[in-house]
């Protein structure tokens, strides 16, 4: 048993090192190979289906391995996927597009690196779009790591479009107020005065000496706000305090887990538009015409969903059959 584990470990290390140092990079499958790989995966599922129905369900590890493969393989494929825009995302975009140049937008980055795969693409597309359309962004975070994510989004925008680097000025076109602890109480106090909560920005520049903030004392001076949220504190807290008590117009980008909980607020008009998860991000990237990571990952995402659905179907068909037999 021990030797077997040792061999497995050794093989994994060798394969990884080979990938790192020997393999030509980057790897891309031609369409034919992509199709062949997809069909092979399908055959594996057919086999699992057969086994499960025969009453020999496969081990957990096989399931894990299959999920892993179907997430990784699409990285190297090049299928083009048509994407339909959902009304919630359209609403976010319409709101953003309707802002005249010079409008001030408050963007709260309430997430940390683990949730970045879903939210960072939205943030990047938003920042890029805002910079290109002369919309001013006031950034902040209710999560300690939020402001760093904001800076990364700005950096990504500059890398994508180097012309922006000269065009967009810190302090004039955007500002990063940083993080402040206190969850919804931060929002509550911002309702009275931003300055009381953020005496200085992330770089320790005093609030009053930042040109963009000259006329910003509280939410009443903000034209629109967007909130990228991965949990608590996040969109719900912003709605409860900033929207319900201070009438801040707000849209949100949420991790997919959070999104269903936010729909009632959307229907009630407390929230103006919602981007949910990676597919929401991909739709937003399409609308803003700034394809990024979410668009790239859409294929992997699709594969993953299909795999989970297949597992549910296989499990249930076997379950229904066995129930029929016992009857």
């Amino acid at each position: 048993m021990k030797t077997k584990e040792f061999i497995v470990t050794a093989i994994i290390i060798v394969v990884l090192l080979l990938c790192k140092f020997v393999l030509p990079k980057p790897i891309q499958f031609s369409p034919t190979i992509s199709w062949i790989v997809t069909i092979l995966l399908g055959l594996v599922f057919a086999f699992i289906f057969y086994l499960t129905i025969k009453g020999k369900p496969v081990e957990r590890r096989i399931v894990f391995l299959l999920v892993g493969i179907s997430l990784v393989v699409p990285f190297f494929m090049q299928f083009k996927l048509p994407l339909k825009i959902s009304p919630e995302v359209q609403q976010v975009y319409d709101k953003l597009a309707s802002l005249p140049p010079g409008s001030k937008v408050l963007a709260s980055f309430d997430y940390d690196p683990p949730s970045a795969p879903e939210l960072q693409p939205m943030a990047e597309a938003f920042v890029k779009y805002a910079f290109e359309h002369d919309i001013k962004i006031i950034m902040m975070g209710l999560w300690p790591q939020g402001p760093q994510q904001a800076n990364q989004a700005v950096e990504a925008a500059f890398e994508e479009n180097p012309a922006l680097r000269d065009q967009v000025k810190y302090g004039v076109d955007y500002v990063n107020l940083g993080f402040q602890s206190g969850n919804e109480f931060v929002v509550l106090r911002m309702g009275e005065s931003f300055k009381s909560m953020f005496p200085s920005d992330l770089n320790y520049t005093p609030y009053d000496s930042i040109p963009l903030l000259k006329n910003v004392s509280n939410f009443s001076n903000i034209d629109w706000s967007i909130n990228f949220s991965a949990g608590k504190p996040g969109t719900v807290e912003w709605i409860q305090v900033a929207v319900d008590r201070y009438n801040l117009p707000m849209s949100a980008g949420n991790t997919a887990v959070q999104a269903p909980m936010v729909y009632p607020y959307l229907n009630a008009g407390q929230l103006l538009g919602l981007m949910g998860g990676m597919s929401g991000a991909a739709e937003f990237e399409k609308l803003t015409n700034l394809p990024g990571k979410a668009t790239t990952f859409l294929l992997s995402q699709t594969f993953a969903h299909v795999v989970v659905i297949l597992f549910i179907i296989i499990g249930n068909v076997a379950f229904l059959r066995s129930r029929k037999e016992t009857k």
Binding site: R61, E118, I239, D244, T255, G277, M278, F297
Partner: protein, 209 residues
């Protein structure tokens, strides 16, 4: 240092993923490092954000007319530490009572307004795109679903007869809600794994374009 960091992160990532195969030495080590590092991280964050920024900077800011209040919080915090001294440990109930009372009082209002009051109001308001038969059906279904869901939660009556039927309808709505949540959760979890795989195969191995 950055290259080393990426290699270390890759090792830790693989260490955690290896749990899927079997509980093993590498995973246990990663887990312990994780517990220690994260406890330290939060300890430091609390120290700088709360004790330093909120308390120390607050009370030394002579323009702050409310700095006196911060001393109350400080005193309550110190009372918390009396737990370490057995005899007067009961003093720690004061800060606890304070926090519990304030939480109860505050959330009572915010939840009542945002989650009950406004939601009832929103259900009986016309949606902006109202007009078609479809939108009327949607409007009616939301009202019906909310209503029957509330019937399900009703405690004073046995779920029988018409009442039981409505409660049944309510649980159906709840189940569809859970299904939607489940679908979205799958989407979210897969995205997170994609993020890690992107790190391994893209940032570390450089295999992705």
């Amino acid at each position: 240092m950055e290259t080393f960091g990426i290699w270390l992160a890759a090792l830790l990532t693989i260490g955690i993923i290896s749990f899927l195969y079997k509980d093993n030495v590498l995973y246990k080590a990663c887990e312990s490092i994780f517990v220690g590092i994260s406890a330290g991280y939060w300890f430091i964050t609390y120290y700088w954000d709360n004790l330093y920024r909120k308390f120390y900077l607050g009370v030394t800011d002579m323009d702050n007319p409310h700095r006196f209040f911060l001393w109350i919080a400080f005193a309550l915090g110190v009372m918390m530490l009396t737990r370490l001294i057995g005899k007067i440990g009961w003093l720690s109930r004061w800060p606890l009572a304070f926090i519990v009372g304030a939480t109860a009082g505050l959330y009572m209002m915010t939840y009542f307004v945002s989650n009950a009051f406004v939601q009832v109001g929103a259900t009986i308001k016309l949606p902006p795109d109202f007009g078609s038969v479809g939108s009327y059906i949607s409007f009616g279904m939301i009202a019906l679903g909310t209503f029957s869901g509330l019937v399900y939660f009703f405690f004073s009556k046995e779920h029988k007869g018409v009442f039981g039927g409505t409660a049944k309808l309510g649980i159906w709505f709840l189940m569809v809600t859970f299904g939607a949540s489940f679908g979205y959760t799958v989407m979210s979890r897969m995205s997170l794994m994609l993020g890690r795989l992107d790190f391994l195969f893209g940032e570390w191995l450089g295999m992705i374009n």
